[in-house]
Amino acid sequence: METQRAFPQQFARRSGAIALYGFAGLVAFSLIAPLLIIIPMSFSGADSFAFPPRGLSARWYVNLFTSESWTRGMLQSFGIASVVTVLSVVLGTLAALGLSRLKGIPQATLSGLLMSPMILPAVVSGVGVYAVFLKWHLTASYLGFVLAHTALATPFVLTTVAAALKGFDRTLEYAAASCGATPVATFFHVTLPLIRPGLASGALFAFIASFDEVVIASFLGGPELKTLPVQMFTSVYVDSDPTLAAVSTVIIAVTSLAIFAIMRSNQARSVGGSH
């Protein structure tokens, strides 16, 4: 397991190590820095995106939370993402359970199929979904959004839950059966508690996937149904004030908190299980 100790010392010559970790640090910085830039921008006193921000003001936040279109967008996105999360966790877990006993070609084909929304371009399914939902009168409706986004979000749950199931000791299910637990009872009392971290991470990914989704939201939305990302997307071209930065900061903050919370809860679970 400890591969780093296995590689000989010659590899980790001083200069080599410095260069390697230096590079990693640089890349890490350039990945994080852009997001951090937004935070000071959101407090800019000026009415533009110019950097460095002049003056300090919280008015963009005020603008954000008092503006009807922005708050409506946030609520809609949040609402849709929540429902999508619940649905995709159920579907994703069912799929992971179903696929866990399969092997070979059937398994590869079915998982490939169910994972495809993650890999295929959103535009491709977007065109199809838009065309079909027009026929079914599901455009500009919450239901349509939920259905389309669930198909997109389920693969994320499937991935994490399948990984959790892989590390799950099947003998525990036998032990439960020998104690008299029906397959359903075994799932809820033994399997589920132990794969819960996988479900939690999957739920997080599913939520983010739906919350941030732009392409299908653009297709399926309507004048009354403009989710937050669509709102933000148009805001870049239409407005030119840092309200967008304020929205972004809020999103970054909330996402970070959610990730932190899930990680802490998963951590606590793996350390001996304080129920």
Partner: protein
């Protein structure tokens, strides 16, 4: 419900019946959902490309329109070209990152992983907006350059900006497969090379690098395929010259309601994606068979 200690009623045995609990059946509702809200729409889209044609024209009219139009083809080529550029950039950056992750211990390993995955978790619009702020003419980059006395550069709207934006989010898709492949390499192989007299650099290039190639290829194909679908990044960071196929498709529907054209283009994009995925999977599998070297 349970066998009472001592007796089994014949009824209980009969009621239990064949208990072969087919867990696999759980997949069925999910497949049905997918069939209805994902597969059927895509099938409809492909059909539309073939059926939504001007009166009198054949089924392939939309496809002909796409391939005959030079402007369309330029965008298609540009999409492929950008994907290639992004892939190369990602792989070059991801390889050392994966290696650093391999060598790092404990918390540092997780830290690198977390950083690499970070853009994955942040909204596309937010990310690209950040790049806009940095790369715009009066942005952070030019501000910093000015501090050092360098003339301002105009990156926003160029392919460089698009590449950077796309690479940021696609990096984890390159790092993870490469890391996984590296992890599987038996450390004794490199040791053996050194004992046999190879200098560290040579041992690396002749032993470690080839064995990590399956990961590199897996990551490269994944990044390439994902690049083809990008919409928000080229829209926000690119210019008219940098238009990619997804934007074109969107415009055909949103502005022109040209369903036939849009569907045909989407079908082409779909087939390109699937084709490259399949090619990549086959290539990676052949590589994996030819190259062993995994830890015992």
């Amino acid at each position: 419900m349970h066998l009472p200690s001592g007796t089994t009623s014949p009824d209980a045995v009969r009621r239990a019946g064949r208990w072969r609990f087919t867990r696999t059946a759980l997949v069925v509702p999910v497949l049905l959902f997918f069939a209805a809200f994902f597969l059927y729409p895509m099938a409809m889209m492909v059909a539309k490309g073939l059926t939504d044609t001007p009166a009198g024209a054949g089924s392939w009219a939309n496809f002909a329109w796409f391939f005959d139009d030079e402007a369309n083809m330029r965008i298609y080529r540009h999409t492929l070209w950008t994907a290639l550029r992004v892939t190369l950039f990602c792989v070059l950056v991801a390889y050392p990152m994966a290696y650093a992750m391999l060598r790092a211990k404990g918390a540092w390993k997780l830290a690198i992983l977390g950083v690499v995955l970070l853009p994955f978790w942040t909204s596309a619009v937010v990310r690209n907006f950040a790049w806009v702020v940095i790369l715009q003419d009066r942005g952070v980059l030019n501000y910093l350059l000015a501090l050092v006395g360098i003339a301002p550069v105009s990156i926003l709207g160029t392919s460089t900006a698009v590449t950077i934006g796309m690479a940021q989010v696609l990096l984890p898709f390159a790092v993870l497969p490469i890391y996984t492949a590296m992890q599987k390499i038996d450390p004794n192989l490199v040791r053996a090379a050194l004992m046999l007299g190879a200098r560290p650099i040579v041992a690396f290039t002749t032993v470690f690098l080839p064995l990590s190639l399956t990961g590199v290829f897996a990551g490269a194909f994944l990044v390439f395929v994902l690049s083809l679908g990008f919409y928000v990044t080229p829209a926000m960071l690119g210019s008219a010259r940098e238009t990619m196929l997804p934007q074109l498709i969107f415009r055909q529907i949103d502005e022109l309601l040209a369903w036939g054209h849009a569907s045909a283009m989407a079908t082409v994009l779909l087939l390109t994606t699937v084709g490259i995925l399949v090619a990549g999977a086959l290539l990676t599998r052949t590589l994996r068979h030819r190259i062993g070297g995994t830890r015992p």
